[in-house]
Assembly symmetry: D2
Homo-oligomer: 345 residues x 4
């Protein structure tokens, strides 16, 4: 019998993608879905793409009492709402998988990068950071998961093999990344309008984008020593997709691209969602899939390493990784319900 | 044990979409795939999106001897190649599903609209036109199928309920449709370049687009009397998707939108891939799925009926319908391997 | 010495396009610009594209007293604001050019199609409808102008030559058109978000879009007899551009495409912004220009005429036509400050 | 009386943009235009956007004899053709402005980065590198100009103020840039197809893109000492636009963003096409204009400088800079015929 789940915040883009993936998941049912401003609307009216999968489902309000006893609650809520809600849920539902930033960072880092006091710091220990490829063993034994952000997933998976073996200096790392605009969510702002995004590329969050903290956290975990990253995100005219192009300085002599490619293939050997290849990764190859495509180069001329990762920000960068985390929490096969083939063209 | 299939012409867009769908089909395996100019290339190099599904598959040449005994051969070849190849295949493989125009029309209509002599007219009777919703009973008992074009599928499913019951005049029908550029295939032409397609809409094939013949064929089949259609296709700046907006004059008095909606719901009752709704169909709701979304209106002011259908030209309009046909030919559940949920955003 | 003008509502897309055009106009200066929610912002901060042209200009509030004595006031305001403001301006400024729907239609048609009472019906006679090619003589002698909507300009210029000479029946006309999303303005709504517009086409305003009334008005003016139009607009994934594909039934026998092309060339002979050609018009060819590209066909098979027009909805369909109107009002050369070359690619 | 010019290679995208700009230039006429595969075609048929400006112009073949005595010949030819043609033109026409890479680099650098022997090395001294803002004095006194590439213009103008005053180390510089696909020209390749570019971002030319040499050349010229750059270009789904995000390490202590902004404003004081602002540059703000928008930041956390530039690759990055160079060569006002306002939305 399938597990029963709820999706809180299911009218946003990550929520809709989660509903799409769960529609094809054989072991997780969606018992209820909530929304904020869209309460009462049919899922199929807001997302006609989901009309066949959820013909009867309607957005409700968040009511913790209704959630008691559920096997799984997914949270894809606006920033800050998870920490308000979690105290009522951590003990009453079997598992929480939260996409908010609320439980990803230690309290100090959270308060530094988000510029606000954490209202439920005592629960931080109850959530395991859910970057599956780098924290799998910890996730399997956890109860609740804080799923990572889209950029940190791309950047961390691009750089992890280098830092895990001390092949690069832990400082001076640059992550230059681009994202499709669905990463900004379904909120109404002028910068997300088609007429402003089309034919346009702009860097934003210069120097202090909050995802920097997560990248440093994950890579420090891998490196075993403090890692420092300068991160520049850009908005590009596409709906989905993240490409992270990362630069690092070698810490050992004599590296070649061939060595690095071998190293990446070994590091990710057996990973069902990581495609290591000499091909320069393209976001479209990962579209609508849970795959992340990775490559690496050593430039002998400038003695710099370039590592690149591509993924779909809504799938591997959000809802897909949430399902991957859920599969681990529920002791299901990790790949259940998660496509690896992308959509080209 | 799954059926064994081949995909001839698997390096084009319809072929790639077919490979994507078959990667998730539990009862059909891909034994071999061919290409024209890309022979020797790995599928995963041409379409990195398929790298995880076909890690070992490489494009080969078409060799009819190699195909003998296969359960199923899919043909997604450039125009005209199917009629050259079919004579060597119709008796040596169990089933052919051809996406070419070669076996869709009677000889006279083919030669009129395509302006060329048919080279295998004796085989026309061996292929059943494969528009599943309108010819299901004939497909189930057929051996080979000629899968319909993308525009005819959209227009015919939008208009069929009207013509099946004599609600509109069979002449004076206008089909005004738009298509994403993947419909033009992967062939290299200036009109398919990003820089020419973006920010651009143009009508093409004015008055004499070849798909007109197919629409008239399918709708005449439904109406039981000759139907005449004026069809205007337009290229719009998107990769996938067709929207057909169709205009017809009522043949009976007193029609209302509510009547028509009821009629459409009854006509398509039980169809797994047809979504009838008062919502104005959007192509994105059908993206990457085999669904077609349909609506209808009666305008009392001008006494005109407007019927609209949306679908993904590469899925329901090509590869998806081919799989749907194959499921029928193989007596498998018609929906096997075919997603109904679209990709939004 | 250049004329002094103001732009009311200059923070929307039509307003920004007007500022762009006026930046290159040798005889019209922009003395002040107003906005609603963006008061106090620098024009160059909201539209960095305009930073070099208006380094010092800041959005102010609308204050009729400040406008007294100006040669020209352009109004690109949200719907309904023009009729509130006009009573204070019609006598105190030399010329008004209003892009609102407020003064385009007779009172009865306005109240029918807009579903609301007109609050300044006594001023309707003070405004001349500003579709330059069809009402030039009336505009030259007018004081104030109500500039037409984007769709009506495209549809009316596509169909006018047919109706002017009684070549088609005045009823049974279908206008099927597509528009880039800038036509919806800079207002924040989910349907204008990049992630919802990309890869998407949807029909909207089915049967009762308000621009229908304007098309019927302009074409009735041309035909000298009541014209009835069924209009279906669609949103397509581009920022700018309108393409109107229009269908009409011949009222005379023996028409050919060659006859019609000749007729269109004569009808638009000498028009600086109308390009008549056998080429199927493309919106991109008109991008950022004040040109409208037109073609026509007669289909002998179905005895239907297809007429197509393309234009940039923000230029010829809004700000460009406003400048063209202003040139006429000020007795300046009609083409002053108005580019005819489009942006390809 | 205007100067007489020819455009060789006027059927490509840079050529078409040049024709667009020259249509609005009061002092340069286009006497003839050539093409390769499009000989005999009307300019207005290939680019309907130009139909009003060049109603009679048809593409001809390149015939050096026909060019003799012209005031100006613009070359926007496929790579390698300029060095074949130049020997016949350098003495017979008053001025050449070449967009090819052929005469931009010293022979050794050319042969190293382009991997081929230069066939007209004796003419290299006859061409002045035409990056206007950094080489103006040399251009004014030159006869012929080799106009820079699109990426080098963006990267060099972003970084020049830092290197001119020794504020950063000349090595360890990273240029991470994105470009619209028109930069790849009108040539037919699968990677330029709409269906492959849309929803897609990919890095290309990893480690060894040829424009690296030009960036190092221009920045070394500015720095007075050898500069080394690692350059990673990416293709993004837009037609026009380049954004270069550049990283460099400070060579002096105590720098702040405010200091750097002041420095940039002084460095570019009086430059008509360089907009220095704290706004993060967006490509769309520069679309169809000759402007380049620049900003700079110092990150105290990682002690890194980030400098960003945006421009339209076909205008300031190609045809616009060619006109700017031509204006200098002809002693005309440098800004003649060159718009500074971009196209938003």
């Amino acid at each position: 019998m399938p597990y029963n789940s709820a999706v809180l915040g299911g009218s946003g883009y990550a929520g809709a993608e989660l509903l799409r993936l769960l529609a094809g998941h054989p072991e997780i049912d969606v018992a209820l879905v909530t929304a904020d401003s869209n309460v009462g609307a049919a899922v199929g009216d807001l997302y006609p793409s989901l009309a066949t999968a959820y013909p009867e489902l309607t957005y409700g309000v968040v009511d913790p009492a209704q959630l008691t006893g559920l096997d799984l609650v997914f949270l894809t809520l606006p920033h800050g709402q998870s920490q308000e809600l979690a105290p009522q849920l951590v003990d009453s539902v079997a598992h929480l998988v939260d996409l908010g930033a609320d439980f990803r960072l230690p309290r100090a880092e959270y308060e530094q990068w988000y510029g606000e006091v954490h209202t439920a710091p005592e629960l931080l220990d109850r959530f395991q950071y859910g970057m599956t490829e780098l924290y799998r063993d910890d996730i399997v034994t956890a109860r609740h998961v804080a799923a990572p952000g889209c950029y940190p997933t791309a950047a961390s998976l691009a750089l992890a093999p280098l830092l895990a073996d001390g092949l690069v200096h832990p400082t001076g790392i640059v992550v230059d990344a681009v994202s499709g605009v669905s990463g900004a969510g379904r909120g109404l702002k002028a910068t997300s309008l088609f007429a402003e995004v089309s034919d346009n590329v702009t860097a934003y969050g210069l120097l202090d984008h909050r995802h920097t903290a997560e990248m440093e956290l994950a890579l420090t975990h891998v490196a075993g020593a403090p890692v420092q990253v300068l991160f520049t995100p850009h908005l590009v005219p596409m709906s989905r997709g993240i490409l992270a192009t990362c630069y690092a300085r070698p810490a050992v002599d004599g590296l070649t691209t061939a060595d690095l490619m071998d190293h990446y293939e070994r590091f990710y050997d057996g990973e069902p969602f990581v495609v290591v290849s000499e091909r320069s990764p393209s976001t479209k190859a990962t579209m609508a899939s849970n795959s992340v495509h990775v490559t690496v180069r050593h430039d002998p001329r400038t003695n710099t390493i370039v590592a690149i990762a591509a993924l779909d920000n809504l799938t591997k960068g959000a809802a897909g990784q949430m399902v991957q985390d859920a599969n681990l929490l529920l002791q299901l096969p990790e790949t259940l319900g998660l496509p690896t083939t992308g959509l080209m063209p």
